[in-house]
């Protein structure tokens, strides 16, 4: 039994270490009817862009063995609408809001960081340098240590808010990016974003996604995520937020043992809107020795 799951992550106080992952929980409101937002560790918003962005042509989702492919393409109403329309709803909830931002250039990341810093409701920023579904920016930043560092520096200069940088698994050595980003001023890392994948409908002989390729998420990617968290935890000193296929408290514990300080739940929300709540309940029942890094 654990009585207190609270942690401080990169200066953000969390009631518990279980957050909703970007792009899978909307801006909180969408799930508020089905899940008590006050119980969640933090909400990471859908990635916000500077200007409105239309997103990719449908189909945007395809189911694969124990996972899903998505190619949403960062559909966003833009930062202004986010502040005016989506953010006020969260005022009445006692849950930290971490804004995920996605820029097409380092200047855009800096601009987004600056604009969002003015809002008191935002507890921190997550830089999405790892979206596999957009042509400009996106994963390109997250696949090159220098570009990743440049973006992080630009955002660092533009804000005092805690900065979490979200890493892409679509790289040869994730620790190189992790170290570069740490040096550039990141307060924490989150990983992993989705793995670039593809599926073809053999009846129509066409790709199952409108964008042809997409990002794989869900239980299918968990062993890869665990491996990457474990590798990264040995390479950096800043805390790691682990994610990839978490559906239960046991899955979350695997990430803590691999070296994560907190976790995010993405695809699990689609399967069960109360997934996060159930994971938190499960963690309260777990032994405290399971919530810390393993010795291996």
């Amino acid at each position: 039994m654990v009585t207190d799951l609270s942690i401080e992550l990169a200066g953000i106080k969390l009631k518990n270490p279980v957050m909703a992952a970007s792009g899978t929980f909307g801006y909180g409101k969408e799930y508020s009817e089905f899940c008590d937002l006050n119980q969640i560790g933090a909400i990471v918003t859908k990635s916000i862009t500077l200007k409105p962005k239309e997103g990719n042509p449908p189909p945007r989702i395809a189911e694969t063995p124990s996972g899903i492919l998505n190619a949403i393409g960062l559909q966003s109403d833009g930062v202004e609408k986010f502040i005016a329309k989506a953010l006020p709803f969260l005022e009445k909830f006692d849950v930290p809001v971490i804004a995920s931002i996605a820029g097409g250039s380092k200047e855009e990341f800096a601009e987004l960081a600056k604009i969002l810093s003015k809002s008191k409701r935002i507890a921190g920023l997550e830089l999405n340098i790892s979206c596999p579904n957009v042509k400009k920016g996106g994963m390109l930043f997250g696949c090159d240590p220098d570009a990743a560092a440049e973006v992080t520096k630009a955002a660092r200069k533009a804000t005092k808010l805690p900065l979490i940088v979200k890493l892409s698994p679509n790289v040869t050595d994730i620790t190189l990016i992790a170290k570069a980003v740490e040096k550039a001023g990141a307060d924490a890392l989150s990983l992993i974003n989705t793995l670039l994948g593809m599926a073809i409908d053999i009846n129509t002989k066409k790709p199952k996604l409108g964008n042809i390729t997409g990002g794989l998420s869900g239980p299918a990617i968990r062993p890869i995520a665990i491996r990457m968290v474990w590798q990264t935890a040995q390479a950096v000193k800043i805390p790691i937020v682990g994610m990839g296929g978490i559906m239960t408290a046991e899955d979350a514990i695997e990430f803590f043992l691999a070296g994560a300080s907190a976790v995010q739940v993405g695809t699990g929300n689609f399967v069960d809107p109360k997934c996060i709540i159930k994971i938190i309940e499960g963690l309260y029942k777990a032994g405290p020795d399971l919530l810390t890094r393993g010795d291996f």
Partner: protein
């Protein structure tokens, strides 16, 4: 727990009905809305499956879904004749809009698209609106249907049941016979049929798109409209046909 088992799983392509009992929100369900159901407890299939509300019994707090067996999810459900322990999320989405001032309605179903239109027909009849339901399909369907209080016209492309021809042929005739009298028109079925219906007349269409969250969070079930991408789960599944870019 008192679920009633059918004993077997149905074969691909067949149509099945499952009665969902003890569903507290049943009295709130309106025609055109849907629910999502978790088909099993593991990770295969992973996503919840969406189904339209086919019929409601408000007093008994139960409702029915009618579905065609496509893959693992629908096969799983087909084991249940009645169920009260499934993980069901709903009501979701916006239903059909009913105009009480227009006393004639025509409903066009393509195959399993009949599912939500049965519920709609029954509600329209309650509002004393004259209802004609056209059900079109490629070949004779094995669907248990009982049209009480409204007219059911069946047509098949191969002539194996009802009139030989397309649902849109019957719709065309019907619209012309109405002599421009005000009419409420609703349609649900394959996209190609909905597009053909939309070319004949403005109507309310219920759309399908592969969806993940069902609540408007993931932006997965996008459909292109004149006002940009809209989400089938949250903005729909019912749309005005003229707003859709077909």
């Amino acid at each position: 727990m008192s679920s009633k088992w059918r004993g077997t799983q149905a074969a691909k392509g067949t149509v099945c009905k499952t009665v969902i009992r003890r569903f507290e929100s049943a009295p709130r369900l309106i025609p055109g809305q849907f629910v999502t159901i978790r088909c099993g407890t593991g990770t295969e299939p992973l996503l919840r499956r969406p189904f339209a509300v086919h019929r409601v019994n408000r007093e008994e707090k139960s409702f029915e879904i009618l579905y065609e067996i496509k893959g693992e999810g629908t096969r799983f459900l087909s084991q249940y004749e009645e169920a009260d322990d499934l993980d069901i999320l709903g009501p979701l989405g916006n239903g059909f809009k009913i105009d009480l001032n227009i006393k004639n309605a025509i409903l066009v179903a393509g195959g399993i698209g009949i599912a939500p239109l049965t519920f709609l027909a029954e509600e329209l009849v309650k509002e004393k609106i004259n209802v004609t339901l056209i059900l079109g399909s490629k070949t004779k369907l094995d669907i248990p249907l009982s049209a009480i209080g409204y007219k059911l016209l069946i047509c098949t492309e191969d002539g194996s049941e009802g009139t030989k021809g397309l649902a849109t042929d019957l719709l065309n005739e019907f619209v012309r016979a109405q002599n421009f009298a005000p009419l409420q028109i609703y349609a649900c079925g394959p996209k190609a049929m909905l597009k053909a219906v939309a070319q004949i007349t403005n109507c309310q269409v219920s759309l399908e798109e592969i969806m993940a969250c069902g609540v408007g969070a993931c932006l997965g079930c996008a459909v292109k409209t004149k006002d940009g991408y809209k989400m089938v789960c949250k903005d729909g599944p019912v749309f005005n046909s003229e707003d859709i870019i077909w």
